[in-house]
Amino acid sequence: MAADWIVFWVCAPISIGSAIAMLLQRNAVHAALFLIVNLFTVAVLYLVLGAPFLFAVQIIVYAGAIMVLFLFVIMLLGVDREERLVERLRGQRTAAILLGLGVVGEVVFAIRAGVGFSTRAPAGFGAANGGGNPQALGRLLFRAYFLPFEVTSILLMVAAVAAMVLARRRERPVASAERRAQEPIEPSEPSEPSEPREEEPVG
């Protein structure tokens, strides 16, 4: 009974269970919480698989940043707490489940054909991780994968700018504001600043 065996059999069921629970939750916040649990268990699986760096990154990036952002948006939007799970598209749910089963079957078949269910990882992994996993990963990242790395950084920058542009509320043009200030009588009804304007484009 090795430690990784125990950890796998503890984490994998929790992970799948929390994923299913996420799927069935009507409340978006609860769904997010289950997803966080799932992310944590997956992180632990990374640890088992010899990827402590990814373990940390998974927690920092996914659990720490992305999911907080999700919670944030859910709360900010004040989306109705409960979502009715009644399906309106005919046959969608049946088709989805059938297709899902198909995917599982396919992949399991592929794993059996391609990898085999008793294949153990070879012992040579320690050499690849030489000098510590973060260090080895860093060497790989900044040498062989340097260009993708830099490109990714640009992608992140673009995403940040894009998010700011998308989520920003349009300010009213200064000119019209000035005109309004000069006109003593306000002809149109004063619009609520928080109300979404009709001319705002949808992203």
């Binding site: 598209l89 969608q92 989805a96 995917v103 396919e106 992949v107 078949f109």
Partner: protein, 633 residues
């Protein structure tokens, strides 16, 4: 200085760039800058020339490699400049006359809203012309060839607000393009048959028995005839010979300095240069030389007759240019290449002088060009009158002016090489030449004043160039005064071959006497009709109106072209545009559009707008793909 030969074309190019981008900012200085650059180019050309002269006769051709331009498989074209007597003669004419005309333009174009652009184009033209004459291979020559065509187009249409100028520019461009296309085919043929485009490889000079001649040419005169005729077609177009001469008279719509530089002194002589440069090919062919001779003679006579009936100052000069070019081609056809180049040089002087005089007159008369409305200008414009008369005398062939020596050479060669008929035709053409020049001068500068406008002499910036050119027109002939051992003849001998001693025909002095007599007779007739006032030339014109109209309209060649070529082409185009394109092509396009619309109206029902439907489709596709891949394995 030989290594710096690249500066000769580079300086005008720099001027073009500067004037194009900073022309408006430079203001009047644009003209001075452009002129200074051309003058500098001329100076460097002189340096190169002196270096070339210091070399021994046999090694007087230097190829300066600039860079590898095209290298595709076995096809190699380099930007090489060729320095030899012929190219240097041409380069010095281009930069020398060009510089004078540039300076003249400073005064002539003063006040034009597109002043900077004008000089940009002029500099560009000089650059392309130098590229043409200095090129070491056919392709680079072709680049210059098309480049000067482009500049000609731009400058003829410089005042493109005037419909006449715009259409003249278009006409010049299209008509010369006909010849250029033949020429390009010829160049391609040269490469196909001879495997190279370099002059040194293609034109081994001299190519006699026992020497290394291009194999295809020595064995196959048919090919060389075809090549020579194709190249000559290009020359016909560029040098406005019959039957592609129709663009040059219309090209007078451009500013007068342009006419002087491009349509008298340099660009139109490119055809002469081309034939002289490739005369080896023509000689191997033989037939091609005859064609050149015939075309030259026909053009010389035909254009001289037409020039007699023109009322427009510049058009007289334009037809005269065509005629003079005909004389040059006659010389080429008679294998007297040096004579052609000699005539080219002197013609550059006196024709540029005549055009600039015309410009001076127009400058004084607010753009008036109609000879009927001039007269007696010698009193108000003495300098112009004197220099114009010098140019006219030079053209007419009165000694000691330049034209006498050069034209006399052509006539002498015709006589002494046994082409008596050619000699007679040329003599008649020379008679008409002297006659129309006499008519021009007497109508414009003598007699009574027929204009109310206040005429005045041009500023020094214009008269000084006129004076310079007048000196050239007056004394340029001494360059080749000695028929067999003149300066020019000996200088050009390494390229164009030695002047052959006459073996038959009349003796030199006798021929000179005959041609001077003919010219004097023509001038006397001209004085009698137009200068003496004893004959009412207006009445004469009315009496001979049908003949006059026939001549004035250039023997109706243009009208014939319009009827035979242009109208059917227009009708055909209209048919294609309004019937074939509108009905058939558009119909096909519209039909396919309709089909797509119909298909789309059926297929778009798939687009439900529900994201989750799309996601379902994606997953389904992925699944199918997986199954496919799984089955493949």
């Amino acid at each position: 200085m030989l290594r710096q030969v690249w500066l000769v074309p580079a300086l005008p190019l720099a001027g073009f760039v500067v004037c194009l981008f900073a022309g408006t900012r430079l203001g009047r200085y644009a003209g001075w800058l452009a002129s200074a650059l051309v003058v500098a180019s001329f100076g460097i050309g002189l340096g190169v020339f002196s270096d070339l002269v210091s070399l021994p006769d046999a090694s007087r051709h230097v190829v300066r490699h600039l860079y590898e331009w095209i290298a595709v498989g076995g096809f190699r074209v380099a930007v090489d400049l060729r320095v030899d007597p012929l190219s240097m003669t041409m380069a010095l004419v281009v930069t020398g006359v060009g510089a004078i005309i540039h300076v003249y333009s400073i005064g002539y174009m003063d006040g034009d809203p597109r002043y900077g652009r004008f000089f940009a184009y002029m500099n560009l033209f000089v650059f392309f012309m130098l590229t043409l004459v200095l090129a070491e291979n056919f392709l680079l020559l072709y680049v210059g060839w098309e480049g000067v065509g482009l500049c000609s187009y731009l400058l003829i249409g410089f005042w493109h607000e005037r419909p006449a100028a715009a259409s003249a520019a278009k006409k010049a461009f299209v008509v010369t393009r006909i010849g250029d296309t033949f020429m390009l085919v010829g160049i391609a043929l040269i490469f196909l048959r001879l495997g190279s485009l370099d002059f040194t490889a293609v034109l081994r000079i001299p190519c006699g028995p026992g020497q290394h001649c291009p194999p295809a040419i020595t064995t196959d005169t048919g090919v060389s005839t075809v090549i020579a005729l194709l190249l000559f077609a290009g020359a016909i177009g560029k040098s406005a010979q019959v039957p592609l001469h129709v663009w040059l008279p219309d090209a007078m719509e451009g500013p007068t300095p342009v006419s002087a530089l491009i349509h008298a002194a340099t660009m139109v002589t490119a055809g002469v240069y081309l034939v002289a440069r490739t005369h080896v090919l023509f000689e191997v062919s033989g037939v091609a030389l005859t064609v050149v001779l015939v075309v030259g003679l026909v053009t010389a006579l035909y254009a001289a007759t037409v020039a007699l009936a023109q009322d427009d100052f510049k058009r007289v000069l334009a037809w005269s240019t065509i005629s003079q070019l005909g004389f040059m081609f006659t010389a080429l056809g008679l294998r007297a290449y040096w004579a052609a180049i000699f005539l080219l040089v002197t013609h550059a002087f006196y024709k540029a002088l005549l055009f600039l005089s015309a410009g001076s007159v127009m400058h004084a008369l607010d753009g008036e060009t109609d000879l009927k409305k001039m007269g007696g200008l010698r009193r108000t414009m003495p300098i112009t009158a004197v220099v114009c008369s010098i140019g006219a005398l030079a053209l007419a062939g009165i000694p000691p002016f330049a034209g006498f020596f050069s034209k006399d050479d052509v006539l002498a060669v015709a006589n002494q090489s046994g082409h008596a008929l050619a000699w007679l035709i040329a003599l008649v053409a020379a008679f008409f030449s002297a006659l129309y020049m006499a008519r021009l001068v007497f109508l414009a500068f003598f007699g009574e004043e027929r204009t109310e406008r206040y005429a005045h002499e041009a500023p020094p910036v214009m008269t000084v160039p006129l004076g310079l050119l007048a000196v050239g027109a007056a004394f340029g002939g001494f360059l080749g005064a000695n028929e067999t051992r003149g300066l020019l003849q000996t200088f050009l001998a390494p390229v164009l071959g030695k002047v052959r001693e006459p073996t038959q025909g009349l003796s030199g002095p006798a021929l000179a006497l005959i041609s001077v007599g003919v010219a004097a007779l023509a001038i006397a007739v001209g004085w009698l009709v137009y200068g003496s006032g004893r004959i009412d030339w207006v009445a004469l014109r009315v009496r001979l109106s049908s003949l006059h109209r026939f001549l004035a309209r250039g023997w109706y060649v243009d009208d014939a072209y319009a009827a035979v070529l242009v109208s059917p082409a227009k009708a055909g185009s209209a048919f294609l545009a309004y019937v074939v394109d509108a009905r058939l092509v558009d119909g096909l396009v519209n039909a396919s559009g309709q089909l797509v619309r119909w298909l789309a109206s059926v297929g778009r029902r798939v687009q439900t707008g529900f994201v989750r439907n799309y996601a379902l489709a994606i997953l389904l596709g992925a699944l199918v793909l997986l199954v496919y891949v799984g089955l493949r394995i």
